[in-house]
């Protein structure tokens, strides 16, 4: 396979053997952990900050504005300036708030997204951990975040926060079903829960093309449900600015607020990269049937570019939703899930199972 030239596993293997020869195995392991942790931390911060910037630019262009353009060229370091401002702000603790829970809530949100990012395959071999139950792990970890939101709302001693948190709880619990079912469709197709295997299975075509209409339906379902799960517009009821001022993070300030804010954007990144991985082939290049020449050219685009290209596309779609649609009401939100998404998803799963059984998909 030509894309072996971009295989990161050789690099990581080399580093591994280098460390193992120079240190005791325990220390080598610890050093590897430290390196991976550091890389993820830096990556996290950069991605988070630039997603905020991207959101502001995207919405600005949609609204006939220019967006941030003062700090740095085209305002590129605007969000870093914002971060410095947030770091320097006072951390206000509310009287009669539950201090412990109030303080740990933002950390829970951020830890959940940290854990999820560990399982994302960025390119061939560029993986922190490659679980054999990767999809399941992502689902489990991303739902820890809602506990942070619930705690934040409950411990703030503010009525607005509490309503926001309760809305968020109801929303995440119901939409998780649809996210899970939508992901399950690809699991059925590929016969594996391991993310790297799912990507390998898309070498001759992405699942969204190979799986015919049912795969497209589950991709759309996944987009809708995951937008809802990460509390973004038009499903941003938990922080509904015009109703609850800021929802669950009304009472947070400074870096704690920044954690929530960053967590939200990172969740968006995780969801987008999961969609890219599962439905759009992850770091796999675009291959069309037997067009050898075309496929060969595509192979020379590095997989990391493919991965980020697809992720950014999905992120753009999610942003596009937010800046176009009005917000749903809580009962409409639940109607959408229980009356439309869930039944369609269930039928879809059965159809997919049937297709797989009969072997009607493109192999």
């Amino acid at each position: 396979m030509p894309f072996n030239i971009y295989d990161f596993s050789t690099t990581t293997k080399a580093i591994d053997t280098f460390l193992k020869t120079n240190m005791s195995p325990t220390w080598a392991f610890v050093t590897e952990l430290a390196i991976v942790g550091l890389i993820i931390l830096i990556f996290y911060a950069i991605i988070g900050l630039y997603l905020v910037y991207a959101e502001r630019k995207v919405c600005a262009f949609m609204q006939n504005r220019v967006g941030p353009n003062r700090v740095g060229k085209w305002g590129l370091i605007q969000t870093i300036a914002d971060l410095i401002k947030l770091l320097m702000k006072e951390l206000i603790t509310i009287r009669k708030a539950d201090k412990l829970l109030f303080n740990i809530a933002p950390f829970i949100v951020i830890i959940a997204s940290f854990m999820a990012i560990a399982a994302i395959p960025f390119a061939k071999g560029l993986h922190a951990v490659d679980f054999n139950i990767g999809v399941f792990y992502m689902m489990a970890v991303s739902s820890i975040g809602v506990i942070g939101i619930l705690l934040a709302g409950w411990s703030s001693n503010s009525k607005y926060s509490l309503i926001g948190a309760m809305r968020s709880g109801a929303q995440v619990v119901s939409y998780e079903l649809s996210v899970g079912l939508a992901l399950l469709s690809v699991v059925i197709f590929s016969g594996s829960m391991q993310l790297s295997t799912i990507i390998e299975s898309q070498a001759n075509g992405w699942w969204i093309f190979k799986g015919h209409l049912p795969a497209i339906i589950s991709f759309v379902m996944f987009l809708i449900a995951s937008t809802a799960e990460i509390n973004r517009g038009p499903f941003d009821l938990a922080e509904a600015e015009s109703e609850l001022t800021a929802g669950f993070h009304t009472e947070y300030s400074g870096i704690r607020f920044a954690f929530f804010f960053l967590g939200e954007y990172m969740n968006m990144f995780i969801v987008a990269s999961l969609a890219a991985t599962v439905f759009l082939g992850g770091w796999m290049p675009l291959h069309i049937g037997n067009l050898e020449g075309f496929n060969h050219v595509m192979d020379f685009i590095p997989p990391i570019v493919w991965f980020f290209g697809k992720t950014i596309f999905v992120i753009y779609v999610i942003m596009w939703f937010k800046w176009t649609f009005p917000r749903l009401r809580i009962d409409q939100l639940l109607t959408l899930e229980w009356k439309y998404l869930l039944p369609i998803n269930l039928v879809n799963i059965i159809v997919i199972a049937f297709i797989v059984l009969m072997g009607w998909y493109i192999k």
Binding site: F61, N64, V66, Y340
Partner: protein, 175 residues
């Protein structure tokens, strides 16, 4: 069967309407030329207010530092919220007769609501609005202005003063 049909037609109708909305924002996203933002401090040089813009009240002075205000106090009377105070003085004119002149024409920009009654009703046409619009200052006292420039005097041959509180049509300088 009817309700099943309605269920699916609802879904397609909904998707269609959502797609329409997405097209509007999508159109503007790929047409950055339609951006309407004014980049304020950068365009300060070429930023031109309309000539009738009510920036702040000024007392018109000509190049020889003459103004036409005789201190009649009609602007002060007309001002609804007391932004104008006039302190007059008596000074002998060239024939030696004491004549009323203005000592200070005080204007409180902080209280002004830009209704334009002082400019409209000035019988000697000596007040006008300037196009200045950057009024922010750090000291509130700076918003109280003395409109007559130091050393300025009333024009030697003032126009025949019109009757008091004339509101008949008058030619508009902007035309």
């Amino acid at each position: 069967m009817n309700s099943v049909g309605k269920y699916f037609s609802d879904i397609f109708y909904g998707l269609k309407t959502l797609w329409k909305g997405l097209m509007v924002t999508g159109y503007y996203f790929v047409h950055p030329r339609q951006i309407v933002t004014e980049q304020y401090p950068e365009n300060r040089k070429e930023l031109q207010m309309f000539d009738r813009f009510k920036g702040e009240v000024i007392l018109k002075h000509d190049e020889n530092n003459f103004h036409t205000c005789n201190g009649c106090g009609i602007c002060q009377l007309n001002c609804p919220n007391g932004s104008i105070e006039i302190i007059t003085d008596m000074a002998p004119n060239e024939e030696g007769k004491p004549v009323r002149i203005i000592d200070k024409h005080i204007y409180h920009l902080s209280m002004c609501t830009f209704c334009g009654l002082c400019v409209k009703n000035c019988p000697s046409d000596s007040l006008a609005f300037s196009q200045a619009f950057e009024h922010a200052v750090f000291d509130r006292n700076k918003l109280t202005k003395i409109l007559n420039q130091p050393g300025s005097r009333i024009k030697k041959e003032p126009k025949a003063p019109k009757p008091v509180l004339e509101t008949a049509p008058k030619s508009n300088p902007a035309n």
